[in-house]
Amino acid sequence: MARVLLPDSFSAVTGDVRELVSRALTYRELTTELQNRWPQLTELIARSAVAIDGQIYQDAFLEPLKNDSEVVFMARIEGG
């Protein structure tokens, strides 16, 4: 199962849950699962980037997740 790390900015919605595991096979399945559990996360997820196994995605969508994937939500970065 994928290991999912949630940033501090999610904690007002997720409380003490900062880390969880998921059987989701894709990023979309994972975000659907998170939004079903915490509907208020929808906007925060939309404003976030995500790192899947160290690869940072600004606009992830259908990216596959492996059994041992690590998924980390983080702030979006653009730069100058």
């Binding site: 900015s9 790192a51 196994d53 939500f73 983080m74 970065i77 653009e78 100058g80």
Partner: protein, 751 residues
């Protein structure tokens, strides 16, 4: 991934294709376009930093002979769009609209309140004087820390600190970010020493040489073209259309040549005004900023206050780090507080840390992105504190960084594990660099610091057309700021196996190529280069198909090698290889013109690290700093065009040194910038700096076909702390605040 070996074109440094035009003056920049019947726009700017507009009347200006249009806030639609504008510090569409033209309140000195278009610039200036504006002056919010207090005067009474739940009362704090891991108390308990300091970095401008300029030519249907200097004409089109309530297809944006941007030209200022003035007047309208306008109303980057506490063991290992950093956002939210806190500890493997960042409104110009937004200020605090720890432990400053250095598999403070990175390689190179091995000059101090930037990918498009003679035309949509036409040509030539000089690259307008995000975030060589490479591969696939058709063999019986299609081993050995020119020359018979294309959202940008070394001497009578030497070492991934990589490293170092040594916005008590010109806002000139020595470290990024990481942002990060550390060591006392200007250093010397 292609290994960094046996490239024929990658790693060469040909002259840039736009070079001759630029040195001969033929290149056309933002202000160079002249159209028939063109008139000239000017902006009336607020004389107050914080005031309510109680009355505004442009009718007297409009009544003047030769004045064709006059506009103010009420000529713009009301916008309630909280979606984000692209770029760090872009803020929301609503804020961008109010920054372009004030509505009921002015939020900084220089905020636009009205604009006119007249037959000549002098008449336009005179028309501005005829505009009547009455203000109710309010107290300006100018001090960063005071602005965060509960009882502070509010810049925006409707601003509540953003969060999932609405705050109880409005505040000047727009956003708060926090990163933490481990147990701070346990970490500090393991420390042998602690370093605790507060650091300040001033507001500074990107300092591009070309002021903002544009020409809009809108017809009676509300459609037309905008020619402008921009880092991203697609995103300029998008935000201009949103501000004015137009369809994006109503506007064609054409990027002129650009005289520097550094993040500051990711933001629209003049373009919506020029479009509206042109639409109202029925004539083309040119608008240009003065240098004073540029300082007062564009850019800058955030001033910061940072507090940091480091716990360090006697062997140099950081056991805990606790930091707090506030960023000035200016008049609208959008300071780079998140990248700031994400970069502060990024080079290091720290088990216990916490860092909090704040995005704070003040009555100052709204900040814009500036190379590695947020990182120079945040890492200044960390790198200075680490230098002080090294001094306290009598450790070499490179050794203490090596003890703590992140490497492949280290969990970055912002979350993910690093893939392969080059920080340790940079430190190793620094340790044996001749400029580090030589003795520190008598009376000088040697400073060392590290820098980091994530780099990004984002969206890019490219099309390749193969001409009948086999020469190559590349069309892409990333404005060329740092020589990207040369690097695109090199990657196309390498992929297609043709000579560099047979490739031409054109930056297409918004109607002639697919969407590209801004040239920023060190993304262009990475992402647009990836699109160009994929478009070339599209051409190669088509060439193989055409060759198989020509030879009457199956598609899988041919392959591409060194710019030619050849039969695979075992297939008719008498077949003569077909070059790109052969296939293009016969294209009419095999299916028509050869074309390749790619539109991508590039993923897998590779982080870039740097280590800087400098020797600096301080004149104890005048406080003047002499930069005796400066060495920039950076992991660029594969250097496509090494000379331009070095140029980015040298340019970033020069800008960082300017920020460290002299540059700062100086506001009076009314919030008016008192040094809005290059005589008083002192950027470095050639005589101020030595030749910046560079060493490119190439740890290829496995996610890019040629190993590109991105280069442009990281070089500005480390110079601030490098300079602080050198000056502090030269003086024998820690100087925490920037700039390290003569008055500040004389104060420090005099105690």
């Amino acid at each position: 991934m292609a290994e960094a070996v046996n490239y024929k074109q990658i790693g060469s440094s040909p002259i840039r294709p736009d070079g001759v035009d630029k040195v001969t003056g033929r290149a056309r920049f933002g202000a160079d376009l002249i159209l028939p019947n063109m008139i000239h726009g000017r902006v009336l700017r607020s004389p107050h930093a914080h005031a309510r507009i109680t009355r505004i009347d442009v009718s007297a200006a409009l009544a003047m002979d030769g004045v064709f249009a006059a506009i103010c806030g009420k000529d713009f639609q009301d916008i309630h769009d909280a979606s984000a504008v692209g770029g760090e510090g872009g803020g929301t569409v609503e804020d961008a609209a109010k920054n372009v033209m004030a509505r009921d309140k002015v939020l900084y000195h220089g905020h636009a309140v009205a604009a006119v278009a007249a037959s000549n610039p002098l008449l336009a200036e005179a028309a501005l004087e005829a505009i009547e504006v009455e203000y109710e002056i309010l107290s300006p919010v100018l001090d960063l820390v005071s602005a965060m207090a509960d009882d502070a005067v509010l810049v925006d009474e409707t601003n509540y600190t953003k969060g999932p739940k609405k705050a109880d009362k409005p505040s000047n704090v727009a956003n708060v970010g926090r990163l933490a891991r481990g147990d701070l108390a346990a970490g500090f308990a393991q420390a042998d020493i602690t370093i605790e300091r507060e650091y300040k970095v001033p507001m500074a401008h990107q300092g591009y040489i070309e002021p903002h300029a544009c020409v809009a030519n809108i017809d009676e249907t509300g459609r037309g073209s905008v020619w402008c200097c921009t880092q991203g004409h697609f995103e300029f089109r998008g935000i201009t259309a949103k501000i004015l309530g137009k369809d994006m297809s109503d506007l064609k944006f054409i990027a002129s040549e650009i005289g520097g941007g550094f993040g500051g030209k990711t933001v629209v200022y003049l373009e919506p005004l020029a479009v509206l003035l042109s639409e109202k007047s029925g004539r083309p309208v040119k608008m240009t900023m003065t240098r004073e306008d540029v300082f007062r109303a564009t850019g800058p980057t955030s001033a910061t206050v940072a507090k940091i506490k480091l716990g360090v063991r006697n062997d140099g290992k950081i056991t805990a780090a606790d930091a707090w950093i506030a960023f000035e956002a200016g008049a609208f939210a959008g300071a780079p507080h998140m990248p700031g806190i994400m970069t502060m500890f990024a080079p290091y493997d720290i088990e216990h840390f916490a860092v909090e960042g704040f995005d704070v409104l003040l009555n100052k110009p709204k900040v814009a992105a500036y190379r590695a937004p947020g990182a120079p200020q945040a890492m200044h605090a960390m790198e200075c504190a680490l230098d002080e720890a090294a001094l306290a432990l009598a450790m070499d400053p490179i050794d203490i960084r090596m003890v703590n250095a992140a490497e492949e598999g280290t969990q970055a403070p912002y979350g993910p594990k690093f893939p392969i990175i080059g920080f340790k390689a940079c430190l190793e190179a620094a340790k044996v660099h001749p400029n580090y091995l030589k003795p520190v000059p008598q009376g000088a101090g040697r400073g060392v610091a590290a820098g980091f930037w994530f780099n990004v990918g984002m969206q890019s498009s490219a099309e390749i057309n193969i001409n009948e003679d086999g020469s190559v035309m590349v069309i892409e949509g990333s404005p060329d700021i740092g020589g990207s036409r040369a690097s695109m040509s090199i990657m196309a030539a390498e992929t297609l196996g043709v000579d560099y000089h047979s490739v031409r690259v054109q930056v297409g307008d918004t109607e002639s190529t697919g969407f590209c995000n801004v040239t920023g975030g060190s993304r262009t060589t990475f992402a647009t280069g990836m699109a160009v490479t994929q478009a070339c591969e599209d051409v190669i696939a088509e060439c193989k198909k055409r060759a198989a058709m020509t030879w009457g063999v199956d598609d899988d019986q041919v392959e591409w090698a060194d710019g030619e299609v050849i039969p695979v081993p075992g297939v008719n050995a008498d077949l003569k290889p077909l070059s790109l020119a052969d296939i293009a020359g016969n294209a009419a018979k095999t299916g028509g013109p050869l074309q390749g294309r790619a539109s991508i959202n590039a993923q897998g940008a590779g982080a870039s690290f740097a280590v800087n070394i400098t020797d600096m001497a301080v004149d104890r009578e005048t406080g003047k700093v002499d930069v005796l030497s400066f060495t920039a070492i950076q992991d660029a991934g594969t250097a496509i065009h090494p000379a331009y990589v070095e140029g980015q490293m040298q340019g970033g170092a020069a800008q960082g040194l300017g920020w460290a040594l002299n540059e700062e916005y100086i506001f009076n008590a009314e919030g008016i910038m008192e040094n809005a010109g290059f005589l008083d806002y002192r950027i470095p000139v050639a005589s101020d700096l030595p030749m910046i020595d560079t060493q490119i470290i190439e740890v290829p990024n496995p996610s890019h076909p040629y190993g590109v990481r991105g280069v442009g942002e990281t070089p500005i990060v480390a110079p601030l702390a490098t300079a602080s550390n050198a000056v502090s060591r030269a003086l024998g006392q820690r100087v925490c605040d920037l700039p390290l200007s003569p008055p500040r250093l004389l104060n420090a010397i005099d105690g």
